[in-house]
């Protein structure tokens, strides 16, 4: 199973990862983050994550700290 680890404390709510994810697995959460905006969250109930890592590539804060790809 492919997945990512997201550190919400690092998220500055720029939402670049939301646009980047090809499977639309990253969305705004209900939690307010350090900039006063909603942070993002990763939800993958159907195991759709490809482990492609583009979310980590575009994140300017390294808030997506780990990406695992199913082999």
């Amino acid at each position: 199973m492919s997945y990512i680890k997201l550190n919400k404390n690092k998220c500055k709510s720029c939402y670049l990862c939301i646009d980047a994810c090809p499977k639309n697995l990253i969305k705004k959460s209900n939690e307010i983050g350090q900039t006063g905006e909603y942070t993002v969250e990763f939800k993958d109930d159907e195991n759709l994550c490809l482990g492609c890592g583009v979310c980590a590539v575009v994140c300017p804060e390294i808030a997506i700290t780990e990406v695992y790809k199913d082999e």
Partner: protein, 251 residues
């Protein structure tokens, strides 16, 4: 299989202090990844300068010195030459903004290129003086509104912007000069390859290597991070075309 992790060359528990969506964080992460891949952490001395780029030493886990505004290439010259005199082989790069590299420090930057100083300079071009709140800088494009060009940059009144990567490519001591951007995944990955190449040219002792990176400044551009990237893609790359302007291996 883990395909991404925080680079070893990023300080543990450090958080970037840039504005939301600013590309500085991406650029520094790429630099850290390349330092890891080329195993440079133990032999690197990085030179930060004034502006948003100054806090580099808070994020990169390598030896680092801050230079006075614009003097990063001169400071890097001193470090590289001194280590050579001490019979040390050290990797030295600067991380500067466009105001730092191409305005206040243009003499130091260009003469380092002309001397073929065996260092690498990375210049983050966000077309304004970001840290002071977005004033007209050396790379502000024609018509661009800043706090000191309220009606937009005007050739008669403000003069013209500098195309840094092309200018540095004209210097005979330059081994590599390129412009890259970070507005999408493809470009981020290609920027990484370009920085890596610039680093490798220093390691091979080929002379001054330079990468200009078109970078977003959502706060001062008054655009969302996403729209900032669209602006780079649709507008800035027309003024500042991406590409490699000098490569001693191919010329």
């Amino acid at each position: 299989m883990q395909v991404f992790n925080i680079p070893r060359a990023i300080k543990q528990n450090s958080n970037f202090t840039f504005c939301p969506g600013c590309d500085h964080g991406v650029a520094i992460r790429l630099v850290a990844q390349i330092i890891d891949e080329l195993k440079l952490q133990e032999k690197t001395i990085a030179v930060a300068s004034s502006g948003c780029s100054v806090l580099l030493y808070d994020f990169l886990d390598v030896d680092c010195i801050e230079s006075p505004h614009g003097r990063a290439c001169a400071v890097a010259t001193g470090i590289k030459r001194a280590h050579r005199a001490l019979n040390n082989d050290r990797f030295v790069f600067t991380y500067q903004g466009d105001g730092d590299f191409a305005s206040i420090g243009l003499a130091e930057s260009m003469h380092s290129a002309l001397r073929g100083e065996n260092i690498t300079a990375i210049c983050i071009n966000n077309t304004n003086y970001g840290m002071t709140g977005g004033q007209l800088g050396p790379t502000t494009t024609m018509g661009q509104i800043t706090t000191t060009s309220p009606d937009g940059r005007n050739a008669h009144y403000h003069g013209f912007p500098i195309k840094t990567a092309e200018q540095i490519a004209l210097c005979e001591g330059t081994s590599f000069s390129a412009r890259a951007a970070l507005y999408d995944v493809k470009n981020i990955l290609s920027t990484k390859n370009i920085i890596k190449k610039a680093f490798q040219y220093q390691i091979e002792g080929l002379g001054f290597s330079f990468v200009e990176i078109l970078s977003s400044c959502p706060t001062n551009w008054k655009l969302s991070p996403k729209d900032s990237h669209l602006k780079i893609q649709n507008e800035l790359t027309k003024v500042y075309p991406l590409g490699i302007f000098k490569d001693v291996k191919n010329d």
